[in-house]
Subunit: 363 residues, 2 copies
């Protein structure tokens, strides 16, 4: 049994697909039957998700020839070696090119299962069942799949669109608070970069979201995915628009690197980074004082940090930001805000103002 | 200095590209400058080809930021591990997503460099410089790239089209006779499956080809690539047409497996397989006696075997053919000839006739 709150169609010509958002979707046989054509199905998940949702998912796949792979949990396992283990099971089970992979888990599982699907026998089908808020609003749109290399994150990969995305809000109930808030950071980001109305909606519904109200979550996920789809589509016409999705990331990367990866969650670092980007945008005369305060206030209410770690100095920030991968040439490019809901990528800003922001935030 | 004999345009919408066929192309700077957009170029080759052609190729890339990777030679090295070594060099040299990979070598180098290009940073450009006759007529069209898995050949891969193919007939002069004849088997196959005029042309020019006459080679390569492009394009409309490219492969695989891989070259096994397919087609009343004789005669003149190894019995053939991967369900599907230049994929034939062919060819 399940409740569908929303079906969002992503229009990509003959690779179009639907994002279904609702409660209980991961265990509803109908959605799998609707989109999966062949008989062979492999569920890829990890050791954290498996005890929670694997059994129900496999029960919903009754009638298919089902195999499963349970990966170790964590970004550190997003490697070619672990990918090869997926291929091995596919071959041992004699899966052919009409098979379908189901990614049941967060971003790492989605990236790996998606890349396995992109490359097994030169491409088979896959369905995403994202079980974290971050993966529901981030990985559902854009088709990015891949693994890490020892010398760089996400350096090996492919674009591969899913047959469908089942974003099950019921799976968010088991998510710990920090992970949940990390997903909210991404959602707030969409409001800030491209959708002022959504930002206002978030201000009105933050309490409901924190209570993990299914209906509010579905709306937040739907509007986030719609926003990302808009930005990604615009990028095909106007190169670089996709970079708007990196709001807060340059400051955030500095925090992640400065603190050593893993101390702060990515979403937490981006949240503080967005406050700093808003602060700089305010100093440049773009964002009003009220807009700056509303931005930091909403981030704070989401349970996210609004100031960097006490240990970080302005000099450390500058040093770490200059090597961020978003820097093209020798100019520092930042995503900044003209207003809530209106963003731009620019290297044309007063560096003195950046230093003021760093002096304010760095200790 | 180089001579261009032919430019064949492969029409694939915004992924269209040209196959340039001529003498000395691999070391002509103009062709690289014409198609490569970014500044970073990596040449991927192997230890057999490197001493022969790498220096000239790199000289032709003057003005680009050039790196190189020399892989060990052989199908056994077509693995994820060796692929990872390519990624490592790309990352060590800080190659970005505007870089271009050049595949300088035969099929294995082309498959691996192509797959590395398909997946490095989710896809970068690549140029094919095939140096064997087989890779010039086979890998130039179709966009197949990939590596082997311990449990199966070509099980991991992607479709990725090149910016251009430089088929340099001068590089064929260093090819040993067996490898050269193996390429001829593929060329004869194209005449048999789809182009009777080309088959007649091959009968008239086999001596020139065996003397490695540049002009005749260019024509044979051009017509083979054109034929493959036609079959591949037809497959998008009529599913399964691409299977015609497997003429001789079911019998051939049985020979390769029966003899142990590596004893016979793939092209040699396919050559004998084509004779057997022609024999069966004749017994079914499709191919005339004259056509059967001309087929075997041309294959023989190309320096290829027309009979299987003496050790193989009809029973062994049948057992090995039934597990060939081209068998769908429990029916044996074969590519057979209605006439020279006209082929079909069918499982609708008299098994007694197949047994007659096996009795004739098996000992």
């Amino acid at each position: 049994m399940s409740t569908l709150n929303c079906e969002l169609k992503v229009d990509l010509g003959d690779r179009s697909y639907s994002i279904y958002i609702g409660e209980g979707l991961h265990s509803d046989a109908e959605y799998y039957r609707r989109c999966i054509k062949g008989g062979q199905v492999m569920v890829v998940t990890n050791e954290t998700i498996a005890p929670l949702y694997l059994e129900q998912t496999i029960a919903a796949l009754d009638g298919f020839d089902v195999a499963q792979v349970v990966l170790p949990d964590g970004e550190v396992y997003k490697t070619l070696d672990v990918l090869n283990a997926i291929y091995t099971v596919l071959l041992e089970k004699r899966f052919n090119r009409k098979c379908t992979l189901i990614a049941l888990g967060g971003g790492v599982v989605g990236d790996m299962a998606g890349f396995a699907a992109a490359t097994y026998q030169r491409g088979v089908a896959f369905v995403q069942v994202p079980t974290t808020l971050l993966s529901q609003v981030d990985s559902s749109v854009g088709g990015k799949t891949g693994v890490n290399h020892a010398l760089g994150k996400n350096m090996i990969g492919a674009f591969h669109q899913p047959l469908a995305v089942l974003a099950d809000t019921a799976t968010l109930k088991t998510l710990d608070d920090r992970q949940f808030s990390s997903g909210l950071a991404e959602i707030i980001k969409y409001g800030l970069i491209a959708d002022a109305d959504f930002f206002v909606w978030l201000e009105a519904h933050m309490d409901a979201l924190l209570e993990r109200d299914a209906c509010s979550l579905a709306t937040a996920i739907e509007r986030s995915c719609r926003c990302k789809a808009g930005v990604v589509a615009a990028d095909e016409k106007e190169a670089g628009q996709r970079a708007l999705l990196n709001l807060g990331h340059t400051f955030g990367h500095a925090i992640e690197t400065g603190m050593g990866y893993g101390e702060w969650l990515h979403g937490e670092a981006v949240a503080t980074g967005m406050c700093m980007a808003a602060d700089l945008s305010h100093r440049l005369g773009w964002l009003t004082t009220s807009e700056l305060e509303r931005t930091c206030q909403l981030i704070k209410r989401a349970g996210l940090p609004v100031t960097p770690p006490a240990a970080m100095s302005p000099e450390q920030f500058l040093a770490l930001m200059a090597v961020d991968k978003k820097v093209l040439g020798n100019n520092l490019r930042l995503v900044l805000l003209k207003a809530i809901g209106r963003s731009l990528v620019t290297e044309d800003f007063d560096l003195a103002k950046l230093n003021e922001t760093l002096a304010e935030y760095g200790r």
